[in-house]
Amino acid sequence: MAGSTRLVKALYKFKMLKTTKNPEELAQIVPIASVYTVKVLDDIWKEDGNWDVLLEEKKRSLWDEMAILHFRASAAYRQSQFITAYRHQLDMYNAFLREFQNMSRWAVYALFAISKDLYDLARRADTQQSMVDSQANKVEEATRAINQGFSACMTDREPLLSKSRKWGTYHMANILFGLYLQFKAYNLCNSMIRAIKASELPSLDRFPMSDQVTFRFHRGTLAFRSEKYSIAKEDLLFALEHCHRDAYKNKTRILMHLTPIMMMEGKMPHSRLLRRYPRVRSIYGPLVKAVKSGDLQTFDKQLRAVEQQLVSLGLYMATEYVRKLVIRQLLYKVFLIEGRASRVPFSKFQAGFAVAGFPQMEIAEVECILADMIFSGYVKGYLAHDHGLAVLSKQMPFPRISTLHNNPSP
């Protein structure tokens, strides 16, 4: 049998889209459950009563092969055979990538679509597989394939920038971020950022805003993980400001990271912000209060209470630094109680710590904390060890933290 005429027509359509380089329409029909694909499969089913025609092996061009594989994947997908669908989609993806080498910018949209499908199918296939055995590693396999798609974009040598596949780089990178973070493969994320930095891409602000925001959010959180808070702050602030205004969840995610950084710099979240984002409030609200009042005990208690949440989000270490502000506030309180005297014995600070829940703190440790405070500029003055007292500066012994220009990270 010569095969279904409907299929032949569909293949012809794929071929035409390639020759006419029609980005929108190709990107519209390649998704696994696109309206067009569903219709073609319906028609073939009506014609033949089965989809056997898809399985007929014939010598075809690579592009035809890709199109057939797409229909096979889609057919399996409609039968909920995700493992089979994934296999076909992976083959199709690789076939597409080979064709992709000779295509230009117009094809990146199709690449985005099939990358997303590949990931989605891999996830579903793993779920299906894990019911049978534990050999569920298709997402990793898919990630490797998508990574190839990413490098196919990034390493394009097209001299004409307007036709370069490089315009797909950041979008692919964002897909990969999502995948890598799933495996907690942070080093892969970092090496990807390094690779992007090393390649000659158009500057990030020339890319679509959605790509920019997502990419900078990921870069920011990764910098956050490495405790490079000033870099993280820049990226996260950008993401927050340019995020789509309705993207409430995304904004919450950004704020979760941004809040401790801002707190380190002495900028407490406004009560209006906390009201609007209850999740942020539930974690940081009590901490903010404790920082303001210098209540070390409450701060530690709240930190322990939310420790598990913070740790799982990778926020714990950053929030821990905020403790320094609480200590600063506590020392300030002692200073006030001492009547703003410029000479405060260490024992007074020790008493302050005792009240704050550290009754056993030695003088040496108090000195150490004071030295650290003076070193980081939270306190102005000096320590006279032999006299056992701290000599505080006449003007502004406790400068406003937001006026300190040093890096918030110690």
């Binding site: 907690k184 270490m317 040496a364 440790e365 150490c368 650290d372 060890h385």
Partner: protein, 697 residues
């Protein structure tokens, strides 16, 4: 000999033993369900020279552990008595290697050293949970070689009140004295506390105040203890000695037989060879089944079972039967199944079938095919009464010997046959080495490994023992590192992943820490992380703590975050891990006071890791001191705050940073903090970039 063949055939042999019943024995016993273990084993082992290879190897190891040349020679004589055995061995050159090796070995390492090592291991094992896991681990290596218990889940739990740990109080006291002596000059907290630590601490590393000046002394102590941590052989030594001396003359064939024997009895004899039960049965060999019969705990059905067994047994096989019954019953009582086993339906012990079984040998076809070593001339009168008698006697002896050997085996704990359990992802491409040299220098492979250059697991076990000794003896790290790398390579190319692998990596990691070879340490650490994640037992917590400290050294904050996020609450409770996390917190919050306190109290070998970044932290702290204190600060205080053990060392540190002291009296030195600040800042420059040696990404 090709290694693949070697392994393959011995695996076949393995499979054979697992079949309950070779065909010829079915014929002879007329469909009796239980195969005559002794017979079928003899056939199995004599038909398969590879089985004998392993058995022979085992034998030489046995001699090695018995520490008696005399016994070894006796064994050799014994081989000659049984003509066919020695015949089949004659074409096996390695056996000679082993015997010479074991002789050489004991000449080189006299008794004195042995005792030292015993001490080290005894103090090590007088402690609690971690130690017992350790012994378990080593027990597991070996028990996994037993066909009956091939998975880790079933390895024996060592009884915490095992005699070897506590009976030797003299040894422990001695060791405590020694450690308190060594602690005395190290510890400013007082020797008492450190001794207390020793007995209380999970891992009895020297847990006293560490200092650079005393590092050397500590090093030796740690190396002794850490090296002998997993060495069950030496822990066992004091009480194992008499048992070994008692060991009868046996040939290697018997071991094979014992294996089969246990296998055939489907779980019946499982527990006997394990753990600490064995010595007691050995010390009172066959102390009367009959008196046991009257034991009130025994159910009636069991008594009937014993009586039936004796009735069905020939006079010749009586001793054998007693052995077997004892085995069955003790294992049942160990497993608390005395009352649950249906004794009425249980098949009688094999010894009861002994007489009909003899007919196996009257099948000429089997014999001719199976006994290459048997002289053709003696073949004719094979069925003569006299020969039958002799065979019977021989098998009885063998059965007893094999039992003893097997029980020794569980403790002497050297594997006989390479086990698929040891190899991760076993497939046809997995190679098994045939090299029998113990030492091999490391060469990075550029092609597929050659089996003749690769040492199989049993050899590697011996290699490790040798390396441990070498390290104590010579302390030559270049040699040790090279050897360990080749050892690791051999494990890798053979894909051996078991607790032995863990032991090797842990040891190398510790030695690398001790010699400050962080590159090698990190390689081992990376592997260990993977091995632990596969569920292999080891010192997970200890190395988790090291990993955190290593991250602190490399200032890899992102990975600390990851590790911290992945940690379970109970892991954070562990003393070593908690210490490492506290170190992290101290650095993060800039609390140098707490940091240096933690430095001097680092558990395990954490101090060695901290040594690597202690100067960096000192410089940071000094910077803070210089910035905060005015106008001057006493060196005594600086030394105290920066964790120096003496003012002298602190002065040295300060002069190295070009910090000049104020003119003052000889007793009290002072530093002008304002003048010192630029020097402290300059000192930080060299710490801006961490030198990561051998870091693998």
């Amino acid at each position: 000999m090709n290694s693949g063949d070697n392994y393959g055939t011995s695996t076949n042999w393995w499979d054979q033993t697992q079949q309950p019943q070779p065909p010829h024995s079915v014929n002879s016993t007329g469909g009796n369900v239980l195969a005559p273990a002794s017979m079928s084993n003899t056939v199995a082992s004599s038909t398969n020279s590879n089985a004998q290879d392993w058995a022979q190897y085992y034998q030489s190891l046995e001699a090695y552990h018995s520490q008696s040349k005399h016994l070894h020679q006796q064994n050799q004589q014994n081989q000659q008595v049984y003509g066919y055995t020695s015949n089949s061995y004659s074409n096996y050159p390695p056996s000679e290697d082993y015997s010479t090796y074991s002789q050489w070995y004991y000449q080189d390492y006299p008794q004195q050293k042995q005792q030292q090592q015993q001490q080290a291991s005894v103090i090590y094992s007088n402690a609690t949970p971690d130690t017992s896991t350790q012994t378990n681990v080593s027990a597991a290596v070996y028990s996994s070689q037993q066909p009956s218990s091939s998975s880790f889940s079933s390895y024996p739990q060592r009884n915490p009140s095992a005699p070897q740990f506590y009976n030797n109080s003299a040894l422990i006291n001695k060791q405590e004295q020694a450690s308190s002596n060594s602690a005395h000059h190290l510890s400013q907290n007082g020797p008492d506390t450190s001794v207390h630590h020793l007995s209380k601490d999970n891992i009895a590393f020297v847990n006293s105040r560490r200092s650079t000046s005393a590092t050397r002394g500590v090093t030796k102590g740690v190396s002794n203890m850490s090296l002998y941590s997993g060495n069950a052989a030496y822990t066992d030594a004091p009480w194992r000695q008499p048992a070994t001396e008692q060991a009868p003359l046996y040939t290697s064939v018997k071991i094979a037989k014992q294996k089969k024997n246990k296998n055939g009895e489907a779980g019946g004899a499982k527990a006997t060879s394990k753990g600490v039960e064995v010595p007691t049965t050995q010390q009172h060999p066959l102390d009367g089944i009959n008196t046991d019969v009257s034991s009130p705990e025994w159910p009636n059905s069991l008594k009937m079972f014993v009586e039936r067994s004796f009735a069905a047994c020939s006079i010749h096989a009586r001793s054998k039967l007693e052995t077997q019954l004892k085995q069955i019953i003790s294992s049942a009582s160990n497993n608390k199944k005395l009352h649950t086993i249906d004794w009425d339906d249980r098949p009688l012990p094999k010894a009861c079938d002994l007489i009909p079984k003899n007919n196996v040998f009257s099948l000429p076809a089997k014999r001719s095919s199976g006994s290459a070593g048997l002289g053709g001339s003696s073949f004719d009168d094979f069925d003569s009464e006299e020969r039958k008698e002799r065979r019977l006697r021989r098998f009885q002896q063998e059965a007893e010997a094999a039992k003893k050997a097997a029980s020794d085996n569980a403790l002497a704990s050297i594997p006989v046959v390479p086990n698929k359990e040891d190899v991760f992802n076993w497939d046809a491409d997995t190679i098994v080495g045939t090299c029998t040299k113990l030492e091999k220098s490391y060469l990075r492979l550029t092609s597929a490994p050659d089996p003749s250059q690769v040492r199989p697991l049993p050899i590697l076990h011996k290699t490790l023992d040798l390396l441990k000794k070498r390290w104590i003896e010579d302390n030559n790290y270049t040699y040790i590192c090279d050897q360990f790398k080749s050892l690791r390579q051999d494990l890798t190319v053979q894909r051996i992943t078991n607790s032995f692998t863990v032991e090797v990596y842990e040891l190398h990691a510790r030695i690398a820490l001790e010699t400050n070879d962080l590159g090698e340490y990190n390689q081992c650490q990376t592997q260990l992380k993977q091995l632990y994640s596969m569920g292999l037992p080891g010192h997970v917590m200890e190395f988790l703590a090291y990993r955190i400290l290593y991250f602190l050294y490399t200032q890899n904050k992102a990975d600390i975050n990851t590790a911290f996020a992945a940690m379970k609450p109970e892991e954070k409770q562990n003393a070593a891990v908690e210490h490492a996390l506290n170190v992290r917190a101290a650095i993060a919050t800039g609390n140098y006071h707490a940091f240096f306190k933690l430095y001097v109290n680092a558990p395990n070998m954490g101090g060695y890791l901290m040594d690597n970044f202690i100067d960096r932290e000192r410089c940071i702290a000094l910077q803070k001191l210089c910035k905060a204190y005015r106008p001057k600060l006493g060196v005594t205080f600086i030394a105290q705050e920066l964790g120096f053990d003496s003012i002298k060392v602190c002065l040295e540190f300060l002069t190295n940073l070009n910090i000049t002291l104020l003119e003052s009296s000889e007793q009290a030195h002072y530093v002008d903090m304002k003048a010192a600040y630029p020097h402290a800042v300059a000192a930080m420059k060299k710490y801006e970039k961490v030198d990561i040696k051998g870091q693998i990404y």
